[in-house]
């Protein structure tokens, strides 16, 4: 099988997810008591940067099957927004507020965007651009 040269989207995506998860574990291990936000903010920022870098590197791939990517990505996004919404509901139900709520909500945003991106990438990487366009029609 001839492999196209693609950036390491899956590896970077998993690192980004690992950072988000680490931040979530750090906060969860301290809540509901007071928790210093510095480490969680740093992990979130690093994760968001990796996600942005991942999107940027993918955007520079010539002839990537973007139609297929977005077709799969939007449904996956819907599913993960529902999942993230349920987790957010648990936080709100437990009267989480202030800095920890903001950090955890932003972490959920990164999670809800990056996982669909990984799913869509894994599908679209095996499409030729013309094939991806035809499949989307």
């Amino acid at each position: 099988m001839e492999e196209r040269k693609l950036p390491p989207v899956t590896q970077v995506g998993m690192t980004s997810l690992a950072l988000i998860v680490a931040g979530g574990i750090y906060l969860s291990a301290h809540l509901p008591e007071h928790v210093p936000l510095g480490p969680a903010v740093a992990l979130l920022a690093a994760s968001a940067l990796l996600m942005a870098g991942n999107l940027a590197s993918l955007a520079r791939v010539p002839g990537f099957a973007w139609r297929r990517f977005f077709e799969i990505g939007r449904w996956a996004l819907l599913a993960y927004v529902v999942t993230a919404g349920m987790i957010e509901y648990v936080f709100l139900h437990n009267h989480l507020s202030g800095g920890p709520l903001i950090v955890l909500t932003l972490s959920l945003v990164v999670f809800a965007v990056h996982v669909p991106m990984l799913i869509a990438f894994t599908v679209a990487r095996y499409y030729e651009p013309a094939e991806g366009a035809a499949a989307a029609e």
């Binding site: 099988m1 899956t10 995506g13 998993m14 997810l17 690992a18 998860v21 680490a22 979530g24 574990i25 969860s28 291990a29 301290h30 809540l31 509901p32 008591e33 799969i72 449904w75 996956a76 599913a79 529902v82 999942t83 349920m86 987790i87 509901y89 648990v90 139900h93 437990n94 999670f111 996982v115 990984l118 799913i119 990438f121 894994t122 599908v123 095996y126 094939e131 499949a135």
Partner: protein, 205 residues
Amino acid sequence: MSVAAQAPPASPEGPPPHGPVAIPDFEIVPRKGLIIVAVAAVAVIAAIASNKLWPLEFLHVAGGAAWTIIDLFLGLVLGPIMGSMSVPARIEFTTKLMPKMVLIMPTVVTMTLAAGWELGVQTGNLLSASPNHGWVVASFIVVGVMAVIALGLLEPANIAVLVELKKKRPNPQVIERLMKRFMYSAGILGAMQIATLVIMTKIAS
């Protein structure tokens, strides 16, 4: 409607190559199953809103048991069996199993984690003063590692193999590669579920 895929060339020691393999028609996401998913999601929200222990415990234990057993069974029993199946049998099995996994796994995982968090709040196990706190944090770490593997490797491979099988000319090598990725990930998750069982039984006793 079914399509045909060219079977991959057999290895020198392996079984003789097959001809084109018929791929049965299937839905990537079984629409009827979405009703059950919606019911499970509403049940979780209602259980959390009720602030009662039993519904939370039920959903956490039922979801967790399903999650653990599926991971263990898939990774340690079904995976090796699938690996030894003929290509046509494996493709037919894949088109029947994988669409169900697309719905089942995210549902049981969300159900278990959301109900489990609320259960931890209600029972006080999340408080750092709780004697179980260390075990709860250990469970966060195990679940966190499992989540990264499941979300970064397993779930994308699950969807991608189904989309590949939907193509007019599916590439058997792509299917093979994605199925290997799915099965290895499931095997690792199955092994990690043993740690979950140890932690959860420790917390419960």
